[in-house]
Amino acid sequence: MPAELLGVFGKGGVTKKLPVPVLTREELLGLHRNMVRTRKLDERGMKLQRQGRIGFYVPSLGEEAAQIGSAAVLQGSDWVSPSYRQPGVALARGVTPVEMFDNCFGNSGDAAKGRQMPVHYTFRSRNFISIGSPIGTQIAHATGVAMAMRIRGESKLCMTYFGDGATSSNDFHTGLNFAGVFRAPCVFVCINNQYAISLCVTGQTSSGTIADKARAYGMPGMRVDGNDVLAVLAATRLAADAARSGDGPTLLELFSFRMGPHSSSDDPSRYRSKEVEAEWAAKDPIQRFEQWLLAQNTFSASELAAVHTAAEEEMAEAAKLSEAKAPPSKDTLFEDVYAVMPASLQRQQAALRAEGDAHAQDRNAAFPL
């Protein structure tokens, strides 16, 4: 039954307990480390924005378990079709914080050549698809990637991430419908953080749960405690195994809470209460995982604390490196529109070169949203 909430830790309204996934000590520490790194990356990102050093940031605060638990089942040759709120998935794929901050600073080191807003990453070598802002579009791309894998007869999968708001989009509907029809090896991960900017998920859809929507596309749906990293991992593994073995797609709903603002431009106090924030602060996915780890008696508190310190330093150092890089050159403005620059763009580029840089503005003015 999709409506069940699956968990390992067994708190937070879980109605069905999943078996604890079998993981090595190293693997458990790896999950913990990446969750903490995600948290620290986001904190650094928000700080850079508050200090006016970058123009915009989108934190994933509170969604670390959902990201790291799901990404843990990915193999190197799998693909990811993400939204803007999965920095943790990028970290789990081996992306360095410097690569990410290069994007946030829009500097010459940025793989996207400074062309997009902060947090719109692209990491080709990690099969991490370029992120756009429009909500939901990446879902249909994931279906296409997975259809291509199937056409080629490969045993890979594409994992796509999106929010509760995105379930209302056109591309959620067509992406899942096509995947169902073509049995595409796709794992659809909805991180239900309960808000689409100001709209609570109860105003987003009258569906009982997001997982319920799977049925409309003839695929299984699972609703998982998204703040329980082991439950996320266990459930995603089931979905991934199904995809790889030709059993088609799955819709996962990772039920969580967006602990921070929607973005650096957002003020959640306009639309939600301190009470609900406090309630969910108590369910912080990192704390819950640390409590569980400590309860296993094979991990020490100081060992875990050291992870926090190291991650903090890693992010501070990365930000410093990125900030030092030069902005992209003006010529990059005209490149990559087409494979070969057409005559019209060559002319536009020549005209710009002839111009002065008379009307330069402050690069780091804040984005108002």
Binding site: M117, I197, L199, P328, A365
Partner: protein
């Protein structure tokens, strides 16, 4: 601000909020729908306070689907309501393109006038807020190329209020582009009269001049006015025509100005190829070419997606307008 005479100085954003408030007070059929427009009052705060004042039935926070927003608004309008739909950024209007182009624009025609859908679609547009690819575009040309739609693009608080009210009261579907980068920076006198409206289809001479006609709309009007001030110091007298209404277009004002000056620059933030600036050029080249003493020069965004770090390079500033003016002046 409640007197029916006189004016009040306010921002463009305040003028829009006031127009919405007045129209909702005037007529029960006016309803608002869109993402985050209710409880949060809109991400730009354009609809601030309206849900508190008029209730959840008339100010609706919708699910995240522009096609649904416009599709539902069409249905409401067919039934007799006067929906004002917000598209959070004009960049996000494309999921609703089918409903706009295939349905909203064609209902009156295809039903022989039996069914009309006077939906007003408000869409903050344009660059200058460091929004990158997807929070900066100026997509007006797509809609100007779609018969059946009225396309408006005000540049002042007064016009913003007056045109939005005309749009809501009018009988046609309207795409109303709001120049978001000057939401708060441009202030101006706005008539207090709740029945003050600005007629659709009339351009405005934002600055009279005799040497060169510069045609613009939306936020770009201010860039052109700035250029005109600079040019004046060099003895060049620029006439700035603020179109305000792209469709229907005030051809008379445009062509008269060109006949007077014989030299034209068309300035627009949008990408160059097939933008609305091309339509203005084509119109002039077809109707009054014999008056021209120079090429018709377009100053536009480049034919690339809208960039982030190099936004200040991408967007046409006063200097680029002046370079074009120089070219047509010295041809």
């Amino acid at each position: 601000m409640t007197a029916n005479t006189g004016t009040t100085v306010m921002t463009l954003l305040q003028a829009l909020n006031l127009a919405l408030t007045e129209e909702m007070e005037r007529c029960e059929d006016v309803v608002i729908l869109g993402e985050d427009v209710g409880r949060a009052g809109g991400v730009f705060r354009t609809t601030d306070g309206l849900q508190a004042k008029f209730g959840e039935a008339r100010v609706m926070d919708t699910p995240l689907a522009e096609s649904g927003i416009i599709g539902a608004a069409i249905g409401m309008a067919l039934y007799g309501l006067r929906p004002v739909a917000e598209i959070q950024f004009s960049d996000f209007i494309f999921p609703a393109m089918d409903q706009i182009v295939s349905e909203m624009a064609k209902f009156r025609y295809r039903s022989g006038g039996e069914f009309t859908c006077p939906v007003v679609v408000r869409a903050p547009s344009g660059g200058g807020i460091r929004g990158g690819h997807y929070h900066s575009q100026s997509p007006e040309a797509y809609f100007c190329h779609t018969p059946g739609l009225v396309v408006l693009a005000p540049s002042t608080p007064e016009d913003a209020k007056g045109l939005l009210k005309s749009a809501i009261r009018g009988a046609d579907p309207v795409i109303f582009f709001e120049p978001k980068r000057i939401y708060r920076t441009v202030k101006g006198e706005v008539p207090n009269d709740p029945d003050f409206t600005v007629p659709i289809g009339k351009a405005r001479i934002a600055r009279a001049g005799k040497d060169v006609t510069v045609i613009a709309w939306g936020a770009m009007v201010h860039t052109c006015l700035e250029a005109a001030e600079k040019a004046a110091r060099n003895g060049v007298d620029i006439e700035v025509v603020d179109l305000r209404s792209l469709v229907p277009l005030d051809e008379v004002t445009v062509l008269d100005s060109v006949r007077k000056t014989g030299r034209v620059v068309v300035a627009s933030e949008a990408t160059r190829t097939c933008g609305f600036a091309a339509e203005i050029s084509a119109l002039i080249a077809e109707e009054v070419i014999e008056y021209l003493q120079a090429p018709i020069v377009r100053v536009t965004g480049y034919d690339t997606p809208f960039p982030y770090a190099l936004e200040h390079v991408y967007m046409p500033g006063p200097d680029r307008v002046l370079a074009a003016v120089h070219r047509v002046k010295t041809f």
